[in-house]
């Protein structure tokens, strides 16, 4: 997982590249480098964050160049392994995102020809291959080189002998072209470019692009020129900035009243009392569904687990949630089953592979994603955008709640089609959906109370989260948020499972966060809290506004509005997010960029 950027235009390339790299940093930040062609090709790379590179870099003159931010997959984090990688004659520079599977064979072949390797990366193979094929035309050389490659790649190449030309190629790793006025870009992702242009061309697998200052050509596998559509991106540049918040994560948590409105916009109609999707999606949802499989990774997996609960509750259709990395090898396929892939970036390699597998075996596929034009939207039968706007913090917040809501809307739609809920019940759910933004504002108002509780957690070595029903996946998500940004060990458990093992870990130094809703399991979870208290831990309860009983049982109580029924999962999630945020902040952790993690995982 890395971020790549290429620039060809009229500005000072080094400044533009570093600026764009900062916006790609969420994709990787072990090391970074840029290469610019002025009179000659010059390279500068450094281990560490982009800000370090920016401080130490000398001015590199030139108006064409490439830049890279790395998240190591092959070879450790060293300056040698940072990109760009240059050819032996120091004329060709290459940056790469992805994994070359046959790089060992290629490397041996090249070494036999007497080529010396300077790094342990798979990328260097591409550089030497291109250099080897180079006969005065860079696009021909790139074209010949990628024929030899197996695996995933998005690459950008420049050559000192052809300083007017930037060449890119993609296979199974994201790459887009940004179209400007007298300047053009290639990049891994849209936010990198938003400061400069909002016109974007999406490359497809196997395609090569040749980008000059004022033209863009795209060639397919057979070197035939392809006419590509230029898409206008609605995101504003302002969306990608911190807006006075100390961290992107906090900004994104506070974005949720708006991001939720966006999910519902045009889909939940209060006066018509209906849920609307486009025809394609409605068709997919209406034809005799036997079962639903949801495939996802990481946070999306937990939102899918919550979605399973909602869909089953409203439609009686069995839902199986599977980790994409497992499903693609071991999952069952059934033509009467609908496969829903949930991926924020739309580029998660495992989820993409699972979707392809499912589609090849004749299943209907539907994707829930935040990224328009992403690979996932193109390889599936239909897609639903969560419309959350860009999410920069590595830990997902607003996209998690939006994903749950999309799944909830799908559940309502299926329930309407199958007649499993009455019109009045449907109307009540729509009203609750419309009320959500203000319920979230109410939770955000409790920021200070949540901070107080966070102070009790900041020195813990281990924290447990428990819940029943839909609160179980929320416990998992709460624990994931806490561990990924605060580095405190955290586990989520179904409350009833605690007795079957995890109890052994309870001491008075392991606080337990219990999610308590006034449903049929209320008495059970109160009993669970009693059992926990007897072993000494402090209990932090997340409970409803009007729940007075809980005061007698828990040490700390954080409240969420009571009138929400199934949708209480959204305000509860916001409390869990803020709790994790404050704990991490009190511990001084690098919240937006936790160690070893990357925003979207485009390697398997």
């Amino acid at each position: 997982m890395c971020g790549i950027i290429g620039y060809n235009g009229f500005r000072e390339a080094d400044k533009v590249l570093i600026d764009c790299l900062k916006r790609l940093e969420y994709r990787g930040y072990d090391s970074a480098g840029i290469g610019v062609i002025g009179k000659k090709l010059k390279i500068f790379k450094e281990v560490g964050e982009i800000s370090k590179l920016e401080k130490e870099i000398p001015t590199l003159d030139g108006d064409i160049g490439i830049g890279h931010t790395r998240w190591a997959t092959h070879g450790s984090v060293t300056r040698e392994n940072a990109h760009p990688h240059i050819s032996q004659n120091k004329k060709i520079a290459v940056i790469h995102n992805g994994i070359i599977e046959n790089f060992k064979e290629l490397k041996e072949e090249l070494e036999k020809k007497g080529i010396k390797f300077n790094s342990a990366t798979d990328t260097e193979v591409i550089t030497h291959l291109i250099s080897n094929y180079y006969k005065g035309d860079l696009e021909d050389a790139v074209y010949s080189a990628i024929k030899k490659l197996k695996g995933s790649y998005a690459i950008a190449v420049v050559c000192e002998d052809e300083p007017e030309k930037l060449v890119g190629a993609r296979n199974e790793s994201p790459l887009i072209i940004g179209v400007g006025d007298n300047e053009n870009f290639i990049a891994s992702d849209i936010p990198a470019l938003l400061r400069y242009t909002n016109r974007v061309i999406y490359l497809d697998d196997g395609e090569i692009c040749v980008v000059s200052k004022n033209s863009v050509r795209v060639l397919d596998e057979n070197k035939k020129e392809v006419n590509k559509k230029v898409n206008l991106i609605k995101w504003d540049f302002k969306d990608a900035e911190k807006s006075g918040f100390p961290h992107f994560m906090l900004k994104e948590i506070y974005d949720q009243p708006d991001s939720i409105t966006q999910v519902l916009r045009g889909r939940a109609s209060e006066i018509n009392r209906t849920i609307e999707f486009n025809e394609k999606i409605e068709n997919i949802l209406s034809n005799g569904l036997d079962s639903i499989h949801i495939v996802a990774c990481g946070t999306s997996y937990y939102s899918s687990l919550a979605g399973k609960y909602l869909i089953e509750k409203l439609t009686n259709i069995p839902v199986f949630v599977e980790l994409a990395s497992e499903y693609r090898y071991f999952g069952t396929r059934n033509e009467k089953s609908l496969i829903i892939g949930v991926t924020q970036s739309g580029e998660t390699a495992d989820t993409l592979a699972a979707l392809k597998e499912a589609r090849n075996s004749g299943c209907r596929t539907l994707v829930v994603t935040n990224t328009i034009g992403s690979t996932a939207t193109r390889i599936s039968d239909a897609y639903i955008l969560s419309q959350s706007g860009p999410e920069i913090c590595v830990a997902a917040t607003k996209t998690f709640t939006s994903q749950i809501l999309v799944l909830f809307l799908i559940a309502l739609k299926i329930a309407m089609i199958k007649n499993t809920i009455g019109t009045d019940e449907l109307y009540n759910y729509i009203l609750q959906l419309k009320e959500l933004p203000r319920e979230i504002r109410q939770v955000l108002d409790q920021n200070n109370e949540i901070l107080k509780v966070a102070k009790h957690l900041k020195n813990c070595r281990s924290v447990f989260f428990i819940g029943r029903g839909i609160n179980y996946p929320l416990s998992l998500e709460g624990a994931l948020k806490l561990k990924e940004i605060s580095y405190i060990h955290a586990e989520g458990f179904a409350a009833g499972e605690l007795k079957h093992g995890p109890f052994a870990l309870l001491t008075k130094f392991t606080p337990v966060v219990a999610i308590v809703t006034n449903d049929s399991t209320y008495d059970k979870i109160i009993a669970n809290i009693g059992e926990i208290k007897a072993r000494g831990p402090q209990v932090i309860a997340i409970a409803e506004d009007n729940d007075t009983e809980i005061d007698k049982h828990a040490d700390f109580i954080l409240r969420f509005p009571s009138n929400l029924d199934l949708l209480s999962c959204i305000p509860i999630t916001v409390i869990l997010q803020l709790l994790a945020y404050h704990v991490a902040n009190l511990r001084g952790c690098p919240i937006d960029k936790p160690r070893n993690l990357a925003k979207s995982v485009t390697v398997e």
């Binding site: 400061r195 504003d236 540049f237 302002k238 900035e241 807006s243 006075g244 918040f245 900004k251 506070y254 409105t261 519902l264 916009r265 045009g266 109609s269 209060e270 006066i271 018509n272 419309k434 009320e435 933004p437 203000r438 504002r441 109410q442």
Partner: protein
């Protein structure tokens, strides 16, 4: 030339509407006041703005980051000590002559252009006002400022300072000198410049408006949407009548039988009707829902508001996220209100309802009553007095 916009203040007299956003972000014609100001500044040819922010700065910065390709630099005023102190925060970002203006007062583009074009080193925009003693009253001699008196006790003079100046970079030394003596208002700085024997040219502003109290918002909204041009996106069902300047945003649905008379501005993603009447001069924010048989006139309805069927809303403000059940009624009429220790009779006032309130069915609100944020009112109540935020009426 750069512009310094002062946007750090809270707007206490506009509570509860300023509890979650600074005064400059209150919506007029469905855009924050500040956006109108920035547009005027931009259209007069300025493309670099220094924004002094403080109270709830995130709300401003989130909305305006790199707005319409204008460069906005943010500086923070930690404590809201006064206009001169606020301006001082911008010192290191200003190199030449500049203009300074308040982010919460409307100003037209022509007046700003006139100010920029003026040759004098110092100049100020002034405006005639029926109640000058509430502002900085200015006395003029041959187009130059003679004296400026902040809020005089007795009514005198007829022109007031708009607080909009063109100033040279050297002003910052003067401000440092004055603020070190414990005075923080820009008008004192102006007075001290006159005392030094320098001349401040006065220019009459065409259009300048201030919002001090909640009901001002309704009036200013009325004059700002007066020239709304008809533009309709979204879905309009058959049988809807639309007359005059009505602007309807995308993804909005207007159901059959609605009767809308402009000037009316409706935001994006709303649902209105069937059979709902909206009369001049009304603004409805994004994602709001107005149920059947309701009538709304001369009111400001903000985002995500929800108004039940058969309600009557006139000369009122409904803030973001409030949910009002059916048969709500705001009684229009006059009200005697205590303002700055004086009792005043105000005409044509409706209800002023804060953010995220929940109001039951058949509630009646008396003229001019202000209901705070997050209030909860049970059905069939008559509300005759102001209610503070977070209250419950059982």
């Amino acid at each position: 030339m750069k512009a310094v916009i002062l946007a750090a203040g809270e707007g206490k007299r506009l509570r509860p509407f300023t509890e979650t956003m600074p005064k400059v972000m209150l919506p007029v014609a469905n855009k924050p006041i500040l956006e109108h100001v920035i547009d005027a500044v931009k259209n007069s040819g300025i493309n670099e703005i220094i924004m002094v922010v403080g109270y709830k700065k995130e709300v401003i910065m989130d909305y305006f980051k790199d707005y319409k390709k204008i460069k906005i630099t943010y500086v923070e005023q930690d404590k809201q000590l006064g206009t001169a102190h606020a301006l001082l925060q911008a010192k290191k970002h200003v190199k030449n002559s500049f203009i300074v203006l308040a982010g919460d007062n409307f100003i037209d583009q022509n007046s700003i252009s006139n100010l920029i074009k003026n040759d004098s080193e110092y100049s100020i925009l002034i405006k005639e006002h029926p109640h000058p003693s509430k502002y900085g009253v200015v006395f003029i001699e041959k187009n130059n400022l003679k004296e400026i008196v902040e809020k005089p006790k007795e009514e005198r003079g007829k022109f007031i300072s708009t607080g909009i100046y063109k100033l040279p970079k050297t002003i910052f030394n003067k401000i440092e000198e004055i603020t070190s003596q414990g005075t923080y208002a820009l008008s004192s700085v102006a007075q001290s410049i006159i005392n030094d024997g320098k001349q401040i040219n006065t220019i009459l502003a065409d259009c300048w408006m201030d919002i001090v109290y909640p009901w001002d918002l309704i009036q200013v909204n009325e004059s700002m949407i007066h020239n709304t041009t008809a533009s309709v996106s979204g879905v309009i069902e058959k049988g809807v009548t639309i007359k005059g300047g009505v602007s309807i945003g995308k993804d909005t649905k207007i159901y059959s039988g609605c009767y809308i008379v402009g000037p009316v501005v409706v935001g994006e993603g709303c649902e209105i009707g069937p059979n709902t009447c909206i009369f001049p001069s009304t603004t409805i924010g994004d994602n709001s829902v107005i149920h059947p048989f309701s009538e709304i006139r001369n009111s400001v309805i903000m985002d995500n508001a929800h108004i039940g069927s058969s309600s009557f809303i006139s000369n009122s403000i409904i803030a973001r996220g409030s949910i009002i059940d059916n048969n709500f009624s705001s009684v229009p009429g006059s009200s005697t209100i205590e303002i700055d220790h004086e009792f005043k009779q105000l005409k044509n006032l409706g209800a002023m309802i804060g953010e995220d309130c929940t109001i039951g069915s058949h509630v009646v609100v008396d003229p001019g009553v202000i209901i705070g944020r997050k209030c909860n009112i049970a059905p069939i109540k008559r509300i005759t007095k102001n209610i503070s935020s977070g209250s419950k009426v059982m």
